[in-house]
């Protein structure tokens, strides 16, 4: 199987090695064609976004207005903060020039003269590596004003790196734009969509690093070649990051539609100690988890996973063996979204903290079976009621994990709700918020006051 994004070529991150492997020929080819042709080819190739939503890249590009007196921008999203996702750093590390070339082609196709590559702040090392590659490309005349001379064209494009500073939400496209503008990373209300009103109010396209890196190969090898790889509805290869309880965790580039069990057992070496799998999250921590016994035959592409009741997300596969304490895992996932909620929307800001508190209570053994229903209730009230998708990201793991592992959770909560003495008087009527026994907030001193 040919690899598109991370080919097995030694020192490919060096400019001369990349050039020797047809590097910077795709941009030359692209510049000889019309922008509509390029967009058309990417549309026909069926390339879908690799950042989570799996939206058709070519279609997204076609939303950019053809005639406008405003400058246009491209943002390359390398914020990569979804737990379980660690693929973009491999691109910065091993194939940065293909990303640069893809950025140039995309800029040409959408008519942007400036591109910002947004890389998460923690990736100091990879920012330096990518900046080095970018400097080399500038020096060789592949980027910037010198492009005009190198490729004998009137198109030129600048690429800048923008370093994030530790905010998960900046991976959301409109928050990312606010972050580049020098503001707090608050997601914006849509519409208007970025293609109409993006960076500084100008037309903007935002694509994931992996999506962009595919583009040069599509131009060079043709859209037909690309559309035949993997599943027809979600063609190409996907970088699957496998982590958790597997023998060989890591990033594997495989055709879309590869069996999940193949990825876990054949490529990632199976589960340590040959334990059974309790749960698998197939696309980064925000995606609905799958039950371990039901992963047989599940293919890894957007459509198949949708049918299986989950989503491809960023392709970050988290495997949990039979001894995993799911309650603690879910509490930890919820804590993450609580920490990363930007605080704009009340359902998310307040709801995520409720999820954490209730899950912590259950993890400490003080939960009641009412708590499980309350968790689903809270999650359902976050979902769909927020500006951005962080609401869903926080709600889905809770809602789906409890629904799918109900028996498991039921075993870990107390069936009967015994009310503390103080509230005995109310026990005659139904309470909406049952109070668990031995809650830490109640001490003997509280009762003495009465």
């Amino acid at each position: 199987m040919e690899k598109i994004v991370l080919p097995d070529i030694k020192d490919l991150h060096k400019l001369d090695v990349y050039k020797a492997n047809d590097g910077y020929t795709a941009i030359k080819k692209a510049l000889s064609q019309s922008t509509d042709d390029i967009i058309d080819q990417v549309k026909k190739s069926g390339l879908r976004g690799r950042g989570g939503a799996a939206f058709l890249a070519g279609l997204k590009w076609s939303f950019m207005p053809k005639t406008t007196d405003k400058p246009k921008y491209l943002c390359v999203n390398g914020d990569e903060s979804e737990p379980g996702s660690f693929k973009d750093r491999q691109i910065f590390d091993f194939n940065p020039h293909q990303l640069i070339e893809g950025t140039l082609i995309t800029c040409y196709a959408i008519g942007a003269k400036t591109a910002y590559v947004y890389i998460r702040g923690e990736y100091h090392k990879w920012i330096k590596l990518f900046q080095k590659a970018l400097d080399d490309a500038y020096a060789a005349g592949f980027v910037g004003e010198k492009m005009k001379e190198t490729f004998n064209t009137d198109f030129a494009c600048e690429i800048y790196v923008h370093k994030g500073a530790g905010a998960y939400i900046c991976g959301e496209e409109s928050a990312l734009m606010n972050s580049i503008e020098g503001q707090r990373g608050y997601p914006r209300i849509k519409p208007p969509f970025p293609a109409q009103n993006g960076l500084w109010g100008c037309p903007t396209t935002i694509n994931n690093v992996e999506t962009i890196t595919n583009v040069p190969k599509i131009i060079n090898n043709g859209w037909e070649w690309f559309s035949k790889i993997g599943e027809p509805k979600h063609p190409g290869t996907i970088l699957f990051g496998v982590s958790g309880h597997v023998n060989k965790p890591g990033v594997y580039e495989l055709p879309s539609g590869t069996l999940l069990t193949d990825i876990i057992y054949k490529y990632a070496g199976g589960v340590p100690g040959d334990k059974k799998i309790l749960c698998v999250i197939p696309g980064g921590s925000s995606m609905p988890p799958l039950i371990g016994t039901e992963i047989e035959g599940v293919k890894m592409d957007a459509e198949s996973l949708k049918a299986a009741g989950s989503s491809i997300g960023t392709g970050g596969i988290i495997v949990m063996d039979e001894d995993t304490e799911l309650v603690k895992v879910l509490a930890r996932i919820s804590k993450f979204y609580y920490h990363e909620s930007c605080g704009q929307c009340t359902p998310c800001r307040e709801g995520t903290s409720w999820l954490v508190r209730i899950l912590d209570r259950i993890a400490k053994g003080n939960g009641s079976s009412h708590d499980l229903d309350m968790l689903i209730n809270v999650a359902s009230n976050i979902e769909g009621n927020t500006i951005c998708a962080l609401g869903e990201a926080a709600a889905w793991p809770v809602r789906f994990m409890i629904t799918r592992f109900r028996d498991y959770f039921e075993e870990r909560v107390q069936k009967e709700v015994t009310l503390p003495v103080k509230n005995k008087v109310h026990s005659m009527r139904e309470t909406a918020f049952p109070i668990a026994p031995q809650t830490q907030s109640l001490s003997r001193a509280d009762f003495k006051k009465d």
């Binding site: 923690e122 020098g182 503001q183 949990m320």
Partner: protein, 160 residues
Amino acid sequence: MEFKFTPENQEKIKDILKKYPTKKAAVMPVLYLGQEQNGWISKEVMIEIASVLEITEEEVFGVVTFYTMFFEKPMGKNHLQVCTNVSCMLRGGYEIYQQVKEKLGIDNMEVTEDQKFSLEEVECMGSCGTAPMMAVNEDYFEDLTAEKVNEIIESLKEKN
């Protein structure tokens, strides 16, 4: 304590400003410069950045408080960041966190008395495939074991 950017950093700011159509957009990279020079983002750093970029002090403050990588208090010379998110947790991230806590005798976001170490429990750092992990300032240490953590901390103690 008044804060002024060094002449070198003033040159760097000029270069940064070329990347963006507005001055305000440079606030994050300039904050990084300020943090590098001062060690942390003090009130004086924010005031200086506001005047350099011709934006309000509140705008700078808003950005500083939103992002976790801008420190509003002095941190240790070696800032230890231990990930405890799902993938690391499944492979012993919390044990590593606990070990570092006990070894240094500090809690989350605290600094040791000699100012050499500080600790932060961080969210996913993108090291899921090489979990558990810890970052010391800008460097990642991956596939950690209790012995490795001991070695790292001991060698840092000797070095400084």
